[in-house]
């Protein structure tokens, strides 16, 4: 449970302090009020129980992602570490699809 999970920021709602974050193809809403650095689309964040606890610059993300790639690729539901990672992703609510024609903040 202390294992945060990195995800890629797709979109940021600064007013609500919520980011849409992609975790291996699953888009989730992650709260930003605990994070100490401004987060932009393209950054990675470390998600713990639905909150971003740190911004990870994109150039440093690859090393962090490797462990999770491995755990999720094996997709062993019985595996404790994989289960922890999935629980961390499940902790964040699903992202709502953006309404049609809404301005895309990521551009």
């Amino acid at each position: 449970m202390c294992l945060g999970v990195p995800g890629k920021v797709i979109e940021v709602d600064r007013e609500m302090q919520i980011a849409t974050v992609d975790f291996w193809g699953v888009q989730k809403q992650v709260r930003l009020e605990v994070c100490d650095a401004p987060v932009d689309p393209g950054d990675y964040i470390l998600n713990h129980v639905g909150f971003a606890i740190r911004r990870i610059p994109p150039e440093e993300a690859a090393e962090t992602l490797a462990l999770y790639d491995e755990l999720l690729r094996l997709a062993d539901e019985q595996d404790l570490m994989t289960a922890d990672v999935r629980a961390e992703i499940d902790a964040a609510p699903d992202a709502r699809p953006a309404p049609r024609g809404a301005p895309d903040e990521s551009k």
């Binding site: 449970m1 994070c35 129980v49 639905g50 090393e63 595996d79």
Partner: protein, 382 residues
């Protein structure tokens, strides 16, 4: 694949670097003026990585890497579980992280209470507990477990104007003080600590500086990749051998000296550290996080009269008396020292808290095997 090569069996991304780190560990243990060298980590995720990837097979035989009190669910004390169980039995709806349900109280766990009809929900986050409170008129108590990393999320929620029918029964724990307790245990042979990277993301590495000053034991912060863990251990042994204890950060891509200062402010605005017992270990001064008086409105302990006395007229079964979770969490015994491990005590029928939680040493060893036989294979091959 050469079956006698542990690195062929382990799924390292970079076997060459793994071998390099293994060689460095062997050299450093050889250079130490004594054997064995014992170090402790305090994180269930570190133990998962070590056990899952079979790292102990790669460690020199004279290096002991011991898991300490790194499982927040496991160290939640019996009276804290009793509070939640008593409330549940009074008819109050409880929401908690899944691992907390099966942690034994004096006579019952939350799962037992649920089986008898109590209303207990599993949530993945405190946000989901707040949503439950928004969706229902009844009182929702969030039985909150986890170290400082997780407590920050609880703090953020309490600062975000949760509904009036939401309250927090805090069993949050703070890791730095328990390291002092373990360091002072007369049985301990620990020469240094590997601190958990993601907790230190919040607290920063500076939080360990006073500890190092007081106890003369080095602390190295490490990440969770198998290579991160090995690199952290190499750094830790280097500092031990140098004879100049200090804090080193071997996980700089996530951890700074100051940490997430903003998150620390949220944490300490909502919580105050207070002394309390950690299950099986000891009274830990400043080891428990409780709500400050300003948040009394959301403090389950202030909001309800909790009477757990009905749970106490009970003698623990013999198996529980044989359980060695306490010594295991203090790092002075390992699961294989416990005669119940894997026999009377399994993940399906756990006797102690360490077999319940995914971060408990016994549960992790039961799944992955804590001391793989690869080591003897390597010896056989040599």
């Amino acid at each position: 694949m050469n079956p006698s090569d542990p690195f062929a069996q382990m799924k390292f991304r970079d076997p060459a670097r793994a071998r390099g780190l293994r060689d460095a560990l062997e050299r450093l243990v050889r250079d130490a003026d004594h054997a064995p060298v014992s170090v402790m980590h305090v994180c269930g995720s570190h133990e998962q990585a070590i056990a899952k990837f079979g790292l102990r097979a790669a460690f020199p035989e004279e290096l002991q890497v011991i898991m300490g009190p790194g499982c927040p669910v496991c160290v939640t004390d019996v009276p804290e579980v009793d509070e939640a169980v008593a409330l549940a039995k009074q008819g109050v709806r409880i929401a908690s992280y899944g691992d907390m349900l099966r942690v034994p109280g004096t006579s019952q766990s939350l799962a037992d209470a649920k089986a008898e009809g109590a209303n207990v929900d599993v949530v993945y986050s405190v946000t989901q507990a707040v949503e439950l409170a928004r969706e229902h008129d009844e009182e929702i108590v969030f039985f909150a477990s986890g170290f400082e990393t997780t407590a920050v999320a609880t703090a953020a929620i309490l600062l975000d104007d949760p509904p009036d029918n939401f309250s927090v029964l805090s069993a949050h724990k703070y890791i730095p003080p328990v390291m002092e307790i373990v360091a002072e245990m007369p049985e301990t042979k620990i020469e240094g600590f590997l601190a958990a990277g993601h907790a230190a993301t919040i607290t920063g590495s500076a939080v360990f500086e006073k500890f190092v000053e007081r106890h003369g034991l080095p602390v190295v912060i490490a990440g969770f990749e198998p290579l991160d863990v090995m690199a952290g251990l190499v750094k830790l042994l280097e500092v031990i051998n140098s004879g100049e204890p200090r804090v080193e950060n071997a996980f700089p891509r996530c951890v700074t000296r100051e940490g997430n200062v903003h998150a620390q402010k949220l944490l300490w605005r909502v919580f105050r550290p207070t002394g309390g017992r950690w299950r099986g270990i000891a009274h830990v001064p400043n080891g428990n996080l409780r709500l400050r008086d300003e948040f009394a409105k959301y403090d389950t302990r202030k909001r309800f009269t909790i009477d757990a006395s009905a749970l106490w007229s009970y003698a623990p079964p013999k198996l529980v008396q044989q359980c060695q979770c306490g010594d295991i969490m203090a790092g002075i015994a390992s699961p294989s020292d416990c005669q119940l491990f894997g026999k009377e005590c399994t993940p399906d029928k756990p006797v102690g808290a360490c077999m319940v939680s995914a971060e408990g040493t016994c549960r992790i060893w039961h799944q992955y095997g804590g001391r793989p036989d690869l080591r003897s294979m390597r010896r056989g091959a040599a």
